[in-house]
Symmetry: C2
Subunit: 192 residues, 2 copies
Amino acid sequence: MAHVSIIGTGNMGQAVAGVVSRSGNSVELLGRSDAHRAVTGDVVVLAVPYGAVAEVIDQRRDQLTGKVVVDITNPVDFETFDSLVVPADGSAAAEIAAALPQSRVLKAFNTTFAATLASGTVGGEQPTTVLIAGDDADAKSLLAGIVSGAGLRAIDAGSLRRARELEALGFHQITLAAGEKIAWTAGFALVA
Amino acid sequence: MAHVSIIGTGNMGQAVAGVVSRSGNSVELLGRSDAHRAVTGDVVVLAVPYGAVAEVIDQRRDQLTGKVVVDITNPVDFETFDSLVVPADGSAAAEIAAALPQSRVLKAFNTTFAATLASGTVGGEQPTTVLIAGDDADAKSLLAGIVSGAGLRAIDAGSLRRARELEALGFHQITLAAGEKIAWTAGFALVA
């Protein structure tokens, strides 16, 4: 059984916590008032907005050594809604991996809206697929097992460099939902 | 009724020609041996590999003035399969628009495999959605009408800047199919 720490109690943090619970693994959910509590999970999900990630890393760098760290962020420029705020040839995941060289960083959950994680379906029509990118095969397998244990589909999306494409996909999906082209309960479904 | 010229007779050119025909619009399909024939369509689809686009533009620049030009390319670096060959902050569509300032350039059909355009479904499970990005609303409406007339879904994906995200999505979908995570008859379906 895996033990998962989730930092961030917003809708995404709660949705990922629900996935972990449904898969029969144990979960701790840490909010702002828990900054003094060390994370105890083997897997740590950074479920805070992109702009808050650096502070979390500063606070918890030592605690994250040797752990699987999951970046779920969509680093959208919410002022212009026209680009990401990370370098065009990089990704938030690449930045986090550079900041945490002793951790095994994965990108996941950024292409699934909270509602699709909770319901297990995209718009009630297709099973929800969690795309997982990363450079450590064992870490990806561990997270994939948690995801599939909750009844969702997990797909190995390739190396951590693919986080760039996952962030583009997440951004585009957000623009489509914000523009009312799709519902926040729906989005891109991956048909195999 | 629209008249559509398709430059390129490969599997994507043929698939887009099928869409145009099914929608009741007229289509001409031009191959390599037709370089001397001027395009007659109001809409011109560049259905050649990214590496061949510059030559087509050189040959046909004057013919493309005033027309709706549709870029369907996925400018993947097929040597490394690890990035696109266009600048990270740009897109093939942006390059084509810069080269054809007298045309109305759209990005479309790059996130749909040929088989999904032909069958009208993603893996037999969801209707095929064509994402259309561009800066000219009338041009987008014209193409959306052709697509929906063929029984497919058309979605306005935003300004031509969104071509960057559509090319990331197309690239990622190709890596998933090449890695046998999904079939070439399936891929990302958009659930509204």
